[in-house]
Amino acid sequence: MTLIEAKGLTVRHGANTVLDRVNMSVAPGEIVTIVGPNGSGKTSLLRALLGLTPSKGKVTRKRGLVVGYVPQKLALDPTLPLPVRAFLNLPKAHAPDQIAAMLERVGVPGLATRQVADLSGGQLQRVLLARALLEKPDILILDEPTQGLDQMGEAGFYRLIEDVRRETGVAVLMVSHDLHVVMSASDRVICLNGHICCEGKPHVVQNAPEYRALFGHGTQGALALYQHAHDHDHDDGCGHDHTHDAPNDEVEHAR
């Protein structure tokens, strides 16, 4: 029983095919992370799953699925005064103590009366998460939730997501381009570049040649020295090039 499933999902922006026949699904309680370089269609995939962007193919949602969506950012018009409490009450109102408890849970207690416009990037992300969680979602969908956070903030945020999943059993689908931190928190990683290059458990994906071809070895530290990148071909006929890291190749051959 999957919560949300895409079959043959294709998204075009003008003449550009951003996503080409993607098949994927998320099961209850699962943390799935989509990684991929800039322009690989990560955000388009999320938006297509949410029904925010026109797409071809089929998206099936479980009946009555409640989605908690945490967008990349919130562009707040300065003419709109908005305290955190009023924001958390959209679209459904919640009791004040429920709101206070949720703000405490996501690590920003006592912010209820502050203006959303005055929050720091990290506080805003947690408030967005609180709003999503207050709707008691079956699945959380997060689009690059840690953009603009430093490494400490990033790690803390992903730990929080893991904890919340453990407590509530909510499924999580998130997009990221920062690899390390995300990897450790995920059950499954989907490596995307216009199509699904590879997917599986984090350590499997990390060692997959497709993943290495996309991200090079730079982030792997010393390990990179022992590994050799092979060219790989996709048999699905998707025309794109993976860039390879020239300096790393040199190091490998020097050994």
Binding site: R47, L50, G51, L52, V67, Y69, P71, L74, A75, L76, D77, T79, L80, P81, L82, P83, A86, F87, N89, L90, P91, K92, A93, Q115, E135, I141
Partner: protein, 265 residues
């Protein structure tokens, strides 16, 4: 009591404010100021058509305002830059209306009453129309409040929560057309959007939540209506523009208050 023209004028201003307060806040939040202007300008064309076809004026203005709002929404949905297109539609409709009125046979039309309003000649049936239309707009906004607000804040968040942002936009669009139609008599086609924008902008300076801003916006509109009418009687100035001048003065006051308060913090 309703026999007194002044009482009727006050009631017209108070009734209209019930709609322009909350709707004006959404117009400001959604940056629809020019949209409101264009819809109001089109109302003059509606007046002309109503006179030519002997329809009730408010029906003519409502239909043309709705058509205009629909045309602009369609244009924006096509992804065209609204700015220049709005200008073409807005002034095209206004000028066409002014030309068309000159063709109306056997009628000496007092054009300034439609351009600047004529609140002192509001009749009982006008009052009924104003209160009915304004009450309807206010009730719809209250009923759909959180959906409207969430769609305004972020169409994506709204859609993810199962709210249809396009439907909420349509609600605002129709509400603007309705308010234009009922407020023509009060402030006139050229100043209708001033009644939407100025009180809401003045209210922004003293509000820290959306509900506060809506309430403050209604209060500012009431104060402006009262002060404008009073000035109009005392100084023998045109009533509609006087109301807008009063609103603009209140805007200056709240802006000054905000500036002083911010400096003292």
């Amino acid at each position: 009591m309703l026999d007194d023209f002044l009482v009727r004028a006050v009631l017209a201003g108070v009734g209209l404010s019930i709609a322009t307060g909350p709707l004006g806040a959404f117009v400001v939040w959604r940056r629809l100021a020019y949209f409101g202007d264009a819809t109001a300008h089109a109302a003059i064309l509606g007046v002309a058509l109503a006179l030519i076809f002997s329809l009730p004026i408010s029906l003519g203005t409502l239909l043309v305002a709705l058509a205009m709002a629909g045309a602009i929404s369609w244009m924006m949905a096509q992804g065209q830059s609204p700015d220049s297109g709005l200008g073409v539609l807005s002034f095209g409709a206004l000028a066409t209306g002014l030309v068309a009125i000159s063709f109306v046979p056997d009628v000496r039309v007092d054009l300034s009453a439609y351009l600047f309003g004529d609140i002192l000649t509001v009749t009982r049936s006008d009052l009924l129309l104003i209160w009915g239309g304004a009450g309807l707009v206010a009730a719809v906004i209250a009923w759909r409040w959180s959906k409207l607000l969430l769609s305004t804040l972020s169409p994506d968040l709204a859609a993810a929560s199962g709210v249809k942002p396009n439907r909420e936009s349509l609600v605002i669009t129709v509400a603007i057309a309705l308010v234009v139609a009922v407020s023509l008599k009060v402030v006139g086609a050229l100043l209708v959007s001033a009644m939407l924008i100025i009180p809401a902008t003045a209210a922004r300076r003293v509000s820290s939540s959306p509900v506060q801003m809506v309430v403050a916006s209604v209060l500012v509109s009431w104060a402006a209506s009262g002060a404008g009418l009073w000035a109009s009687l005392r100084l023998d100035t045109p009533a509609g523009p006087s109301i807008i001048v009063a609103a603009a003065l209140i805007f200056v006051l709240t802006t000054g208050y905000r500036t002083i308060r911010n400096q003292s913090v």
